[in-house]
Symmetry: C4
Subunit: 185 residues, 4 copies
Amino acid sequence: MEAFSDGVLAIIITIMVLELKVPHGDSLSSLQPILPVFLSYVLSFTNIGIYWNNHHHMMHTVHKVSGTVLWTNIHLLFWLSLFPFATAWMGENHFSTWPVALYGFISMMAGIAYYFLAHCLADLHGKDSTLAKALGKDRKGILSVVFYIVGIGLSFINSWVGFSMYILVAAIWFIPDRRIEKNMQ
Amino acid sequence: MEAFSDGVLAIIITIMVLELKVPHGDSLSSLQPILPVFLSYVLSFTNIGIYWNNHHHMMHTVHKVSGTVLWTNIHLLFWLSLFPFATAWMGENHFSTWPVALYGFISMMAGIAYYFLAHCLADLHGKDSTLAKALGKDRKGILSVVFYIVGIGLSFINSWVGFSMYILVAAIWFIPDRRIEKNMQ
Amino acid sequence: MEAFSDGVLAIIITIMVLELKVPHGDSLSSLQPILPVFLSYVLSFTNIGIYWNNHHHMMHTVHKVSGTVLWTNIHLLFWLSLFPFATAWMGENHFSTWPVALYGFISMMAGIAYYFLAHCLADLHGKDSTLAKALGKDRKGILSVVFYIVGIGLSFINSWVGFSMYILVAAIWFIPDRRIEKNMQ
Amino acid sequence: MEAFSDGVLAIIITIMVLELKVPHGDSLSSLQPILPVFLSYVLSFTNIGIYWNNHHHMMHTVHKVSGTVLWTNIHLLFWLSLFPFATAWMGENHFSTWPVALYGFISMMAGIAYYFLAHCLADLHGKDSTLAKALGKDRKGILSVVFYIVGIGLSFINSWVGFSMYILVAAIWFIPDRRIEKNMQ
């Protein structure tokens, strides 16, 4: 399961760069129109990097999988697979309302899917397992979904404010899940 | 063999998203034209997910491969590799007759190719092997091919009726092959 | 080394399908213009499948690698990476002279690169190794390069005759390298 | 970590070929406009090949990773992921000033990121580790960054002179890191 997920994440993180359309001019200013797409690319690259990192950590605590786990994992990959699309739409439209809201929606759905996967795995391993203890009440997981919802709402007032909520979530997750690292020792 | 197949499936499932062309407008309504492509994408994502899942389960019962097995596997990957094309053609033409029929044809060929692969592996391992017992008369495999043929036929009467046959097949396979799981215990 | 090569081959074989541009019409006849590209795709898919198959077999006889081996392997991947380009150019131009000749040239260079890799590995393992014995005088390897040269030449008289030479080489290699299988027992 | 990095590198090296846009004509001269893109492709293919090679060698000396290492690795992959873009921009603009300077900038950033990764790993393993001894003062790593800076500067005088600096760096790294090989024995 990890090999397939690693493969999908590696492809998502890499094909996003195909949305950085090569400009026709050769001056420095011809790069300007793709700057927003680049900014959007940086956030998505970081987000996929975070998912890979935490997915990787989580898989190291896992001893068995079930059919349900396989499908909650594919469900997560489905939402992550929409990142290249959402990234490009948000960047090409210079972070206007609807694209920012959609980006938040897809991020939120991926967050919920990750929550399902983590708790599905924790249930399978019992409440005394490393994973279950590490997750605990999973405040971080719930918090990010809440932040994404707030971000979507704020993007209808000012899309840049909404967007900064997404950056905030990325910042929270930037550090690999220390809870698992701590409980493994 | 599994690593290569996993790689190909991971790439197919991910590059399909490149067919979701980013719309030029930034309003919610500018997403409308790509809704059919998205619907088509969801079905294909599920289908490739099913193939990965079952392929994965099957490979775990396999102890040896032959030259013939390698080629029946590549034959399966060939038909699966045409999914991004068929998905985009069907979505972009709003599920009209020929695109729906072609999607069914490619799904059917993939189904037949999987049938060949499974039976080729079962023959190699003998009729008392886990795999051979799990496959049995392989009603599910034969049924899906029949359903695809019916779906192709129906798509010439009403393409949505044909399309719903494909969804039906996906629904049948959604649950990982319990026959193998059962026989492995 | 095998994981990286498997990855590159899996990506090459899959992204070629992106050159099958989705037609705008939804009639059966709108598929006609892409038939030559499809034919070209089938040959390339088979060719990459053959390389994967034989590369895979060869790697199973290998116990050590050197810096030179790593680079002869990357050299092989370089020529194989040009297949999507050559495939699309040949298909889109309906197998006219220059595209067919270029396809033959890239196939020939890949053949030479594989020859180098195989002999470089055989040298490293000594002349009594499984690999060295299996390769022998490597008539099949030399023959394919000769056939490609003949095919390139013939394509200037009649490009379809040249093209059929490439199909001939694929047919010769279709069966996995039995020489290695035989010598391993 | 190696599987994910190998996957990303395999995808980067392969999708670059998608920037070699298939020309419309079928004459030999219709290939001429893409010759600069091809030249640019060859350099980038070699560069990614070098990174894969050295990354691969380095990972074989590694026994443990930390959260910081994971992120310095993703940071390296980020800069490498921009190669397809920089390659296409440089090739399509026939090696004019700004595109050559940007290519140099991205190469330089990748060089710095690799330096960080290598030293981060060396610190983690202690100064008596194989890796730390192999790196030593890492003259080669520092030298390439200096050469890239010089190349960027020179590209504003004559972009081809700047470009040849990048070829020089590739030539220096072409041979796999013998320092590690030596110290491992």
